[in-house]
Amino acid sequence: MNEFLLVGGMFLVTFLVRYLPFGLAGSLQIPEPLERALRFVPVAVLMAIVAPAVLIPQGDSVQFSWQNPHLLGAFAAFLAGWWKNNLLLTIVVGMAAFFISRLLIGRF
């Protein structure tokens, strides 16, 4: 494995997708409907990451069960987020629920 080429290549593609819109920002005008659609980006992209991470924790099959600490932790995080709009609290409650249920269930 040539690590130098690997890191260089990864840097290049990652920087390009991050930079292209910024770089062209001067000449690019975003149409109004696209701008409205883009407001859904954070929610849609992050949920597309979270759902499989929580429900397919082992990467093979869907575990929709109370014996899945990832699911319990996620549920607790959602509840905490709805209860108090406080990011730190949401993360801490979610992680606490995850670790406690993991300890109690004793698997994963």
């Binding site: 593609v13 597309a48 730190l88 949401t90 993360i91």
Partner: protein, 242 residues
């Protein structure tokens, strides 16, 4: 309150703090896994310092350990990071007035977390003039934390074997849920979340995390069209009432 570059910078740092809590375990596991995954010490440090992309680093590490060729790993990294293209497009209007010497570093430091706090800050009605300092503050604290956690992980990975089995990766899920929940206030947003989750699950088996991109785009489209339909329904109701 008058905003100066300095006050904006530190507000960005402060508002990113909760997200740091979620990123710490994630960075530590990356460092921990890097040696058993087959990266050299310098390779692991360079991943975090030069590429600076959490989930892509994990996926690439997984591929290194299975002996994949570097061009394949680079291509996968590209697909996994395509979502940053959406982020960068979303923020495009806000950085348009900045010179390239600002846009280049701000692009390099764009992450899920900094995007989430910056987009919220830009949506506030206060003047935009110093908001890039807020973005910079958020970006730098994320970057500094990521480097530190990678090093801690590399160190502890050698001292505490099995750290990666503690389930620390759940921290990322908790963080992202914390970002998403405040948005879920109307039907189009909730629909976008449900569709993206459902497709994210259904398409999980697709190679190179392609499912993530398709699910994300489908969620965006759902929210957009539902919002449009609800708006036109309201228009007809108003029209009929008159």
């Amino acid at each position: 309150m008058n905003s100066t570059p300095q006050t904006e910078f530190w507000r960005g740092v402060r508002d990113t703090f909760p997200l740091i809590v979620g990123a710490i375990p994630f960075g530590i596991i990356f460092g921990t896994l890097s040696e058993s995954g087959g990266l050299s010490l310098w390779g692991a440090l360079a991943f975090s310092a030069v590429v600076f992309a959490g989930s892509a680093q994990f996926i690439a590490l997984g591929m290194v350990s299975t002996g994949a060729a570097w061009p394949v790993i680079v291509l996968t990294t590209f697909v996994v990071n395509l979502r940053h293209f959406l982020y960068s497009t979303t923020l495009l209007q806000q950085v348009r007035h900045l010179p390239q010497r600002w846009r280049i570093p701000l692009a390099f430091w764009l992450t899920d977390e900094t995007f989430a706090v910056a987009v919220r800050h830009y949506a506030e009605p206060s003047p935009i003039i110093h908001k890039h300092w807020y973005y910079l503050g958020s970006a730098l604290i994320m970057y500094f934390n990521w480097q530190l956690c990678t090093m801690i992980g590399i160190f502890f990975g050698r001292v505490l074997p099995g750290l990666e089995e503690w389930g620390l990766d759940f921290a990322m899920s908790a963080t992202f849920i914390g970002i998403v929940v405040p948005y879920l206030k109307n039907r189009p947003m909730i629909a976008a979340a449900i569709v993206a989750s459902g497709l994210g699950l259904a398409l999980h088996g697709l190679p190179n995390k392609l499912g993530l991109m398709i699910a994300g785009l489908a969620g965006v489209a759902t929210g957009f069209f539902l919002e449009k339909r609800l708006a036109s329904n309201r228009m007809t109701e108003v029209g009929e009432a008159q």
